[in-house]
């Protein structure tokens, strides 16, 4: 681009038309009737709806998170159900068709149970998160921590006060770890732990 902006033989003919533009750079090419330096070249440009936030909020991400945790729960539970089924059928000495059906039963039962648990937790967490970001008007790590703690409390709330507190503590610990991991860039900027990295 810098070669085009220099005065070369092409631009000499067009200097006369752009002379009255004052502080603008003189135009360089016969095919460009504007200054190419006005075009942003490095950063991408996005078009946003009027009044919409520039990032996807919690509600837009909620269904994906719920479905993802459901699927992860299904695969984890299915795998562990397969393992348990293999052990149980070997112990019981079942073979052939019987063993196949028993294995399928184990996989389906444990997979769906784990998927339901994970999905329910994700739904509760997303509901808390959406509510908090709507109530506070901000979407940050504090929302994550509060929502995760409340989710743990609520999920274990029918099992007694002690279990409830334990669930809340698990939620708090997991969300604090996530928040620290999420903002690890800030920490390394703030206090370089390892000077050899710089």
């Amino acid at each position: 681009m810098s070669a085009l902006n220099d005065t070369d033989i092409y631009s000499q003919n067009y200097n006369t038309t752009s002379g009255n533009l004052g502080s603008y750079k003189q135009f360089s090419s016969p095919y460009l009737n504007f200054d190419p330096s006005y075009l942003p070249q490095a950063q991408p440009e996005f078009i946003f709806l009027e009044g919409a936030s520039k990032q996807r909020g919690r509600f837009e991400l909620a269904f994906g998170q719920i479905g993802g945790s459901c699927m992860i729960g299904a695969s984890v539970g299915g795998a562990s159900g397969f393992y348990n089924g293999l052990k149980a059928t070997t112990l019981a000495g079942q073979t052939g068709k019987l063993r196949r059906t028993q294995l399928l039963n184990h996989v389906m039962k444990q997979g769906s149970a784990t998927a339901n648990t994970f999905g329910s937790i994700a739904v509760i967490y997303s509901a808390f998160g959406v509510f908090l970001s709507w109530a506070r008007g901000a979407d940050d790590d504090l929302n994550t921590i509060i929502a995760a703690t409340a989710t743990g409390c609520l999920y274990k709330s029918t099992a007694g006060l002690r279990k409830c507190g334990l669930g809340g503590a698990v939620g708090l610990g997991a969300s604090v770890l996530y928040a620290l991991w999420n903002s690890r860039d800030k920490f390394t900027q703030l206090r370089p732990l390892n000077p050899a990295q710089r």
């Binding site: 909620a62 269904f63 994906g64 998170q65 719920i66 479905g67 993802g68 459901c70 699927m71 399928l104 769906s112 998927a115 339901n116 648990t117 999905g119 329910s120 994700a122 739904v123 997303s126 029918t158």
Partner: protein
């Protein structure tokens, strides 16, 4: 119109699965709370306890069934989009029927056929209602013809107007 508000295809499966799970959990929660309230022994406190127990026990299972339906449906829908290279109501109807059939696979062939039929009819109804609403709402966006100008007035401007030289 609706296709642009959804996720692109492989991620749509996760999204639909989550939406179906949420729908099942909330709907199952409402349904099971009423059922547990009615089936509990008398006394207001006991009824609430029964309602809560029913929600805790049954609504995640209903939600899981919904999620399996949604995920399977979306998977087949995406596969059909990939194979047929187009998105139309037939995709949804076919994948609804296939989902119903596949999820009843362990109940025998007649159950599969009935389930597939029900799934196809259900999705055909949903798609039909969607098309109907699109037709109805498209009425107000009909383009209107701009008023024609009288071409005889253009004759006088031929020399006085723009000159491209």
């Amino acid at each position: 119109m609706e296709e642009y508000t959804r996720e692109p295809c492989p991620w749509r499966i996760v999204d639909d699965c989550g939406g179906a799970f949420t729908m099942g959990l909330i709907g199952g929660g409402v349904f099971q709370s009423i059922k547990g309230f009615r089936n509990a022994p008398s006394g207001f406190n006991r009824r609430f306890v029964g309602s809560l127990a029913a929600i805790k026990q049954r609504s995640p299972i209903i939600a899981g069934n919904f999620a399996v339906w949604g995920g399977m449906f979306s998977t087949i829908d995406c596969a059909l989009i990939h194979i047929r290279k187009k998105e139309d109501p037939w995709n949804s109807i076919i994948s609804g029927a296939a989902t119903g059939g596949i999820l009843a696979a362990r109940n025998g062939l007649p159950a599969m056929a009935g389930s597939a039929f029900i799934g196809g009819v259900l999705l055909a109804l949903i798609e039909g209602v969607g098309i109907l609403f699109t037709r109805l709402s498209a009425e107000q966006f009909q383009p209107q013809m701009p008023p024609m100008e009288d071409p005889s007035q253009l004759r006088g401007q031929q020399n006085g107007g723009y000159s491209f030289q």
